[in-house]
């Protein structure tokens, strides 16, 4: 069975690019355009990995992360933060809340991000 990835990202352009590229690699991608929907879908769809942006409408990314980790149903789902925020306090906060990894979008190409996802599932 293919692995499912929940992509919580409000930029439609990125939803499309990352989503389609992951689908090409054979992953099932569930899109969520805001924090609230993302949190809800995490509970109902139980994805194998969550890619989480931090600046999100309705519910901010760090809040989503906190709620995911507080809930017994979702706390085991690995969360990779994928954002353009790179202040050290934000990075530390995300890792403290239980993020598996923290990727700054500007530092990676699309292929490198896809590579990271593949690497994650191959471990």
């Amino acid at each position: 069975m293919s692995k499912t990835i929940l992509l919580i990202e409000d930029e439609q352009a990125l939803q499309k690019t990352i989503g389609e590229r992951l689908s090409q690699e054979g992953y099932e991608v569930i899109p969520a355009l805001d924090g609230e929907i993302g949190l809800k879908l995490a509970g109902t769809k139980k994805p194998d990995l969550i890619l989480l942006d931090l600046i999100l409408p309705k519910l901010q990314g760090l809040e989503v992360l906190k709620k995911l980790k507080e809930n017994n149903e979702t706390k085991e789902i690995p969360v990779a933060v994928l954002t353009n925020l790179e202040q050290i306090e934000t990075v530390n906060k995300a890792l403290e809340l239980g993020a598996t990894t923290y990727l700054v979008k500007a530092n990676y190409s699309l292929e490198e991000v896809i590579g990271k996802v593949k690497q994650f599932f191959n471990q």
């Binding site: 409000d10 930029e11 352009a13 990125l14 499309k16 690019t17 990352i18 389609e20 590229r21 090409q24 600046i55 999100l56 409408p57 309705k58 353009n84 925020l85 979008k105 500007a106 190409s109 699309l110 292929e111």
Partner: protein
């Protein structure tokens, strides 16, 4: 220290000009004044002390009052240092906010290009490719807009904007902008109504600046109005001024955020939730334009119900 460095240190007026603050707030200038007062007061105290040697109280009094003056000047100097430090901090914040805002569209551009140019691009249809080209163009435009706004703000703050005033019809300008915004309004399912009094006089103003002002208010009104909403614009003349009003049925501005709404980079909490894009510069620019044109701008707003922004501009 090289001789030319010493000379540049001595060029107090040049240095103060660089800071962009008045001489009475410029530390270098105040230090010079304080030094001169120090020398003058020592000489005065000495010569007065010589003459009135019989009355030590008078000497004490003079020395005390000179001390008080020096103390006040020192206080002003400390304050101006504080101002410079604050300006410096704002600059760092500015750079951090701007670079983050530029990074989002930049990532969109970069990754869309990655997608199109990678070998996997061959797997997508022509139709999809066109979608990606659209993404590229939209994001390039978004970056361009942000840079335009930043340049406007920077010019405004340096006082470098020269108003090119001419006789313009505000009514025509508004109608033109409504026409330009129609596709955006239709896409957002927002109706725009415009009502102007008969025979509106022309105003003597800079058309580029006024366009910027109305553009920002109209853009906000549509952007923050929920689906199926309405934006109503009114234009009337009041004494020597034109009165413009724009009312939306949008998300409104929470009470606690209202006092900051014209500040640079500030975005209301609910605006952030509704729309993660936005520079927080629009209303700051609008206020600066109105202020430099001799008018007034303000608003009333209720969260969840909508906002009404208004401004006045002098006719002559």
């Amino acid at each position: 220290m090289k001789p030319e460095n010493i000379l540049s240190q001595l060029n107090i007026f040049g240095q103060c000009k660089q800071y962009g603050i008045s001489f009475w707030q410029c530390p270098q200038f105040l230090f010079l004044i304080m030094g001169l007062i120090n020398i003058a007061s020592s000489l005065t105290a000495w010569s007065i002390g010589n003459k009135f040697i019989d009355s030590p109280e008078a000497v004490i009094l003079i020395v005390l009052s000179v001390t008080v003056i020096l103390f006040i000047i020192a206080f002003i100097i400390v304050q101006s240092f504080d101002k410079l430090a604050q300006a410096n901090r704002m600059k760092s914040e500015f750079i951090s906010i701007v670079s983050h805002q530029l990074r989002s569209p930049l990532t969109n551009l970069k990754w869309a290009l990655d997608f199109l140019t990678s070998g996997n691009g061959g797997m997508i249809s022509e139709e999809k490719k066109v979608e990606y080209y659209k993404t590229l163009s939209e994001n390039a435009e978004r970056m361009g807009e942000l840079i335009d706004n930043l340049l406007i703000v920077s010019r405004m703050e340096q006082g470098k904007i020269v108003l090119k005033k001419e006789m313009i019809s505000l009514e025509e300008l508004i109608r033109g902008l409504i026409h330009d915004f129609q596709p955006f309004a239709t896409a957002s399912n927002v109706k725009i109504k415009f009502k102007a009094e008969d025979k509106m006089p022309k105003i003597f103003a800079d058309p580029y600046q006024v366009k910027l002002l109305v553009d920002n208010l109209l853009n906000n009104a549509i952007r923050y109005t929920k689906n199926g909403g309405m934006v109503e614009i009114g234009l009337s003349s009041r004494k020597e001024k034109l009165f413009f009003e724009i009312k939306d049925s949008g998300v409104g501005i929470p009470k606690e955020d209202q006092k900051y709404i014209f500040q640079k980079f500030f975005r209301a909490g609910n605006a952030l939730k509704q729309q993660t894009q936005g520079s927080g510069l629009g209303l700051y620019i609008a206020k600066s334009v109105v202020a430099s044109s001799g008018g007034k701008i303000n608003f009333k707003s209720e969260e969840g119900k909508g906002s009404t922004f208004w401004f006045t501009l002098p006719i002559k």
